[in-house]
Symmetry: C2
Subunit: 204 residues, 2 copies
Amino acid sequence: MDKAATARGPDSARRILDLAERLIQVRGYNGFSYADIAEAMQVTKASLHYHFPSKAELGRSLMARYLQGFLKALADIDQQAKGPTQKLESYVALYADVIADGRMCLCGMLAAEFATLPVPVRDEVLRFFDANEAWLATVLEHGRRDGQFVFDGRAIEVARMIVASLEGAMMLARTYGDVKRFTQASRRLLAQLRPLRRRAAHRT
Amino acid sequence: MDKAATARGPDSARRILDLAERLIQVRGYNGFSYADIAEAMQVTKASLHYHFPSKAELGRSLMARYLQGFLKALADIDQQAKGPTQKLESYVALYADVIADGRMCLCGMLAAEFATLPVPVRDEVLRFFDANEAWLATVLEHGRRDGQFVFDGRAIEVARMIVASLEGAMMLARTYGDVKRFTQASRRLLAQLRPLRRRAAHRT
DNA sequence: AGGATTACTGACTAGTAGATAAGTTGTCAA
DNA sequence: TTGACAACTTATCTACTAGTCAGTAATCCT
C-alpha cells in the first residue's frame, strides 16, 4: 500500500512543465537540460522523452500552457476589477508576484534567447506578447475614454511601451536581486498615465 | 610578401572579442561556443584558448572592454552635447544604433542569463548598470535644475526606470525584428520628462 | 646565428547535450 | 486471466562542450 516511494502518475507531464518553467525563468532555455529536470524529479532522462519527445516540444507545450494561464489571469482581472485603474494595478501585480519569487517572466526570458529558439517556441512567444499588448491597449483606451488615463497617440503604442518597460524592470530587478527596482519603476510607469500630474515629493 | 593568407597577428584577441560580442548580443552567453568563433576566424579552438584560457575569462575581458567603450561614449557625449536634453538624445541614440543592427545590448542579454554567468562576468555586468544609471541620474538632475526636465522624486530612480525601459524596449524590438518598437518607446519615455506636456495628437 | 617569445596547430580528453530502442512494471478492462 | 496500454528504466548513441598538451613556425632581441 505504500506507493509514496515511486512518484509515478499521470501528473508527471504537469510536474515536468512546472520544473521546466521555473528553470527557464531562472536559467533560460539554453541554461537548463533534461538532466536537471530528471534529477529534480528522481526519474531518468528517457522518461522525460516519453512525455515530451524533444526539447522543442517541451518548450512549445510549456509556452502554450503559460499563455493559457496568462489569458485566464487577464480574464479574471476583467471580471473582478472594477475599472481601468484597478485593472492596471492587478495587471502589474501579476508581474510583481513573479519577480518577488526571484523569477523572470517566462516570455521575457525567451525573448532574450529568441534567436536560438526552435521556431514553434518563437511563435508562441510572439502570440504571448501580441495578446498581452492587445489586452493592455483595450484597458488603456477604456481608461482614456472615461478620463482615468491621459496619454498621447495610439493606445497600442503606450501598451507596447509599458509591456517592454515592465519586462526590462523585471530583468534589472532580478539581476540586482532587489524587488524594489521593479516596484518603483512600475509605480512611476503607472503614475505617468494619471490626469492630474502631482508634483509633490512622494514617500519612498 | 603575401601574408594575407594566414591572418596571424596581435589583433587576434581583438577579433575574438568582436565576434564574441556579436554572438552574445544575438545568441546569448549560453548560446555560443568556442567552435563558433573558431569557425568564423578560420582558426582552431585551441588558438582561442591561447588568448582566453577559459570562457569565463573571455566573458570577463569582453565585459571590461565593453564597459570601457561605453564610458568613453558617455564621456564623448558629455564633451560634445550642449545640454541635458541633447545629452539624453545622444544617449538614446547609443542604444538605437545597436538595435538597428539587429543586436541586443550586451549587458541586457547577460542580465537575462545572469543566474548562469561566471561570477567575474556578473560583477562586470553590475558595474555596467551602476555606471550607466549614475551617469543618467546626473544628466537628469542637471536637466531638472535648469528646467529642461520635470520629474518627481530622486533622479536615480528615474534613471533606473529609463535604463530598464530601454533594455526592455530593445528586447521586444529585436524579438519582433522591428526597430520602430524601440524608437517609439524611447520617444515616449523622453517625452514624459518634458515640462510642457503636450496633449495634441502627434504624427506617427 | 642563437635563443627566447608569440601565436598558433593537431590530437586528444572528460563531461554533457538531446535523443532512441528495447525491455520492464503496474493497472485496468473485457 | 489475459492482454493491452501507460509509464516508465536500462543501455546506448552521436554530437558537441570547454579545456589540455605537446609540438611547430614565424618573428624579435641580442
